[in-house]
Each structure stands twice: as C-alpha cells, then as structure tokens.
C-alpha cells in the first residue's frame, strides 16, 4: 500500500488526465483514418512507463469510464485496460521498455494478458459479441464449426496482439522523444534518460 501511495505524486496525478485524453483522441484518430484497430490504450501505456503500474492502472480505469459515457458496453472491459497499465508498469520498472527487442517482448506479454482477461468477459457478458467489426471474424470461426470459446479466443489473438504490440511501439517511440529534463521529473523517467550509452545508465539512476 505504501508503494502505491508513493507512486501517486502530483506529477503522476497530472499525467492521468493527459493519458486518458490521449487514449480517447488516439481512438478517435484511428476512427478518422479508418484503420481497423483500436489503439485506445497508448496513453495508459505511456503513463505506466513514466509513472509506474498503479498510476497506469488508474489511467486505464478512468479512460474506460470516459468511453463508457458514450458506449456503456466498454465499461465491462475496464479490467483489461487496468491490467494493461499494471503489466506495462511492472515490466517497465524491470527495464523491459528500454530497447526495441525488449519492447516487443513486453508487447507480447501485454497482449497475452489482455487476451486472457478479455475472452471470458466477451463470452460471459456479451455472449461472444463485442459490437465491433471483428465480430464478423468470430462469426466465420463459429460457422466453420468451432466452439464459442475457441472462436472468441482465436479472434482475440489476432485483434489484441496486433493492437497491443502496435500501441506499445507508439508509446515507446513517444517516450523516447521526450526531453531528459522532462523525464527527470517523472518517477520512472530515469529509465529512458541517456540510453544511447547504456553503460552510463546506472549512474543516471539517481537523477529521478
């Protein structure tokens, strides 16, 4: 509990609304560009990378609340976005978001967690539907004689893994572009400072 309270500094609290807004606006941008994925957790991932798992989880929860104002079905998926924040935050703490190959691994882990949580929710709450275009895919799988669990699970593997891995790459590139001065003000910003010379990385840990 003490660790959680320590993570919620004023700077971290101010990140949450920005993260939520990034989630919402990125989700709308995807809609505008007619790209067939969600990408509505990029903000959560950035916040989790900068301010730790618990602030990330809060960002995920608040953004689902906001999505829920217009589309209440989204509220059921609140645990998924909270888990995204927590997993990214925990892995980032371990230094798993500092290099491209590590980011790829993190993306896969986040996707697996999201699939494991989203599948039971989709089946139990909505009987397998999700109200998006990917339902057609579920229907095709069902029509080919698969069971509902297999069908939804397979559909989620395709949708979620692509979505989460692409999202975390965007998050990673954005964090990489932040200035050292800004990163130094964030709880876990030291992880991304001066990463080009990796040997000096340990000396920089004190900056935060």
């Amino acid at each position: 509990m003490k660790g959680i309270k320590k993570d919620f500094t004023l700077m971290a609290i101010l990140l949450i609304p920005i993260g939520v807004a990034v989630n919402v606006v990125a989700g709308e941008l995807v809609h505008l560009l007619k790209v067939p994925i969600f990408l509505n957790q990029i903000g959560t991932m950035i916040v989790a990378m900068l301010a730790g798992p618990w602030v990330g989880a809060a960002t995920g929860a608040v953004s689902k609340l906001f999505f829920g104002v217009f589309d209440p079905a989204q509220l059921a998926f609140l645990p998924v976005s909270m888990a995204t924040g927590i997993v990214v935050g925990l892995l980032a703490k371990k230094g798993m978001t500092t290099k491209i190959w590590k980011v790829t691994v993190t993306g896969f882990i986040v996707a697996i967690v999201a699939i494991l949580i989203a599948t039971p929710i989709t089946i139990m709450v909505f009987g397998g539907a999700s109200g998006t275009g990917s339902d057609a895919f579920t229907a095709v799988l069902l029509a080919s004689g698969r069971e509902i669990w297999t069908a939804v699970f397979t559909q989620k593997i395709f949708v979620e893994s692509f979505d989460k891995i692409f999202s975390i790459f965007v998050a990673y590139f954005v964090v990489r572009k932040m200035s050292d001065q800004y990163l130094s003000k964030q709880n876990y910003g030291y992880l991304y400072i001066n990463n080009k010379s990796n040997k000096n990385n340990k000396n920089n840990k004190k900056v935060g």
């Binding site: 700077m11 990034v22 950035i46 217009f70 909505f126 509902i148 932040m178």
Partner: protein, 249 residues
C-alpha cells in the same frame, strides 16, 4: 413540464447515482426480459422530461445498438438448440438462441441506458463535488474532472496538427498502409506537447496549495432538497417491494 425538467436536473448527484444503481440491480431481480426492456423506455421518458431525449437516443443508437444486433446474430445462428425457426443452407435460426439473446441483451440494454441517462443528466463537476463531500480524495475527483475537461481541448489540438501535417504533405487518405503511416506524425506532436504541459500545471496547482494538508473552501454549492428525500424514499420502498414480491413467489 419546465418544473419537472428542473426537478430532474437539480436532483443531488448521489441521488441520481442511487437511481442508476437501482436500475442496474433490477434486471437481476426481476424474471424474464420484459421489465428490463421497459427500463429503456422509462429512461427515454425521463430523458425527454429533462430535455435530453435527442442525445440519449443518439448514444443508445450508437453505443448499444451495434452490440445488441451482433449478440442476436451470433446467438440465434450459433447457440446450440433444436427448435429451428428458419434455415438457409447449413445456417439456421434457433428459438433457444433467440431466448438467450433476449435475456442477455435485456440486461445490457437496461444497464447501458441507465448509465447513458445518468451521464446525460448529471454534470461531472457536481458529481465530483458530491463525491468529495462523501469523503473521496480531492485528488481523485480532480483527475475525473480534469480528464473530462482536457478531452475537447485535445480534440481541437489534434485537428490543428492533422491540418498542419497535411499541409506539409503527409497523406491521410488512400491505402491502409498510407493511413497507418499518417498515424504517427499526427499523434506524436500531440502527445509530446500535452505531456510537457503537465510541468506548468503542477506549478500552477502547487501555487494554489493543491497538496497542502488543510481544509479547503469550495465555491460550488450543492444542496439536498425535499425532492431528493422523496426520490430516495420511493426507491427504497420500491426495492423492498420488489425483493419481497420476488422471493415470496
């Protein structure tokens, strides 16, 4: 009419929250799906009284309809059952699937419409203030209010950035790959600029003693009226009545 309207809009936020929770429990207490579907009509009626019918209908149409239709399609074709109503080749619509869909969607429609109505008739600032009075941390309510305020602002910024990027030659239409490529140059400046604004915000809030451990005054006044008491009592009586009726059967 005008009187009813202001009565609904001026109810204390937590009273409205109680109403919403009440409506969310009903589908699980009452049998069948008819009552749950009626909740949609009741919510629409309340929205009409409050003068928000257009927005309410719009959100129900955009948010709830797609998922309800998909549930019906998936379940009626693929739910295991023997009572075949209509068939086409290897596909067939089954009575069991329709029944299951009606059960499931009635709950989703009831809860969904209650939530949409709640956010339509409650100002987020009032809700935050009433939660604060209940003892929720001001930091938490700040996060809630400021998220809702930042979003329209950021939407404007995004449109501006998209225009700017288009004017320097970033293509936003065409093949999927082209559109995917446009995503990064539109989003990166937006995210970077909004994240870097947090430093100034922190300074501003700190200069207003945001994290100081003292009792703070608030300009926003919220009052519970007789109407709140009335609504709460009616809800309580209704709830007790429903529970007794349901479990004495």
């Amino acid at each position: 009419m005008e009187k009813l309207r202001s009565f609904i809009l001026n109810l204390y936020p937590t009273t409205k929250l109680f109403c919403t929770l009440f409506v969310c429990i009903i589908p699980f207490l009452l049998p069948g799906y008819l009552y749950s579907y009626l909740i949609l009509l009741v919510c629409l009626f309340i929205a009409m009284l409050a003068g928000k019918a257009k927005f309410f209908a719009n959100f129900v149409f955009k948010g709830l309809f797609p998922i309800v239709i998909m549930i019906f399609l998936l379940q009626s074709f693929f739910y295991p059952g023997d009572t075949i109503l209509w068939s086409w080749g290897t596909f067939s619509i089954k009575q069991e699937g329709i029944d299951f869909s009606l059960q499931l969607t009635s709950k989703i429609v009831a809860i969904g419409s209650a939530l949409i109505l709640f956010f339509q008739i409650t100002k987020i600032n009032d809700l935050a203030r009433s939660l604060e009075i209940l003892g929720v941390s001001p930091k938490a309510t700040f996060v809630l209010v400021s998220s809702f305020n930042i979003i329209p602002e950021m939407r404007q910024d995004m449109i501006r950035i998209m225009d700017a990027q288009r004017s320097r030659g970033v293509e936003t239409e065409g093949k999927l790959r082209v559109r995917m490529k446009a995503f990064i140059p539109a989003l990166t400046p937006l995210i970077l600029s909004s994240f870097s604004s947090t430093v100034e915000k922190a300074i501003t809030l700190e200069s207003r003693a945001f994290t100081a451990q003292t009792k703070k005054t608030n300009l926003q006044q919220l009052e519970k009226t007789k109407g709140d008491k009335l609504v709460r009592t009616i809800l309580l009586i209704l709830l007790v009545f429903i529970i007794i009726w349901r479990f004495s059967l």
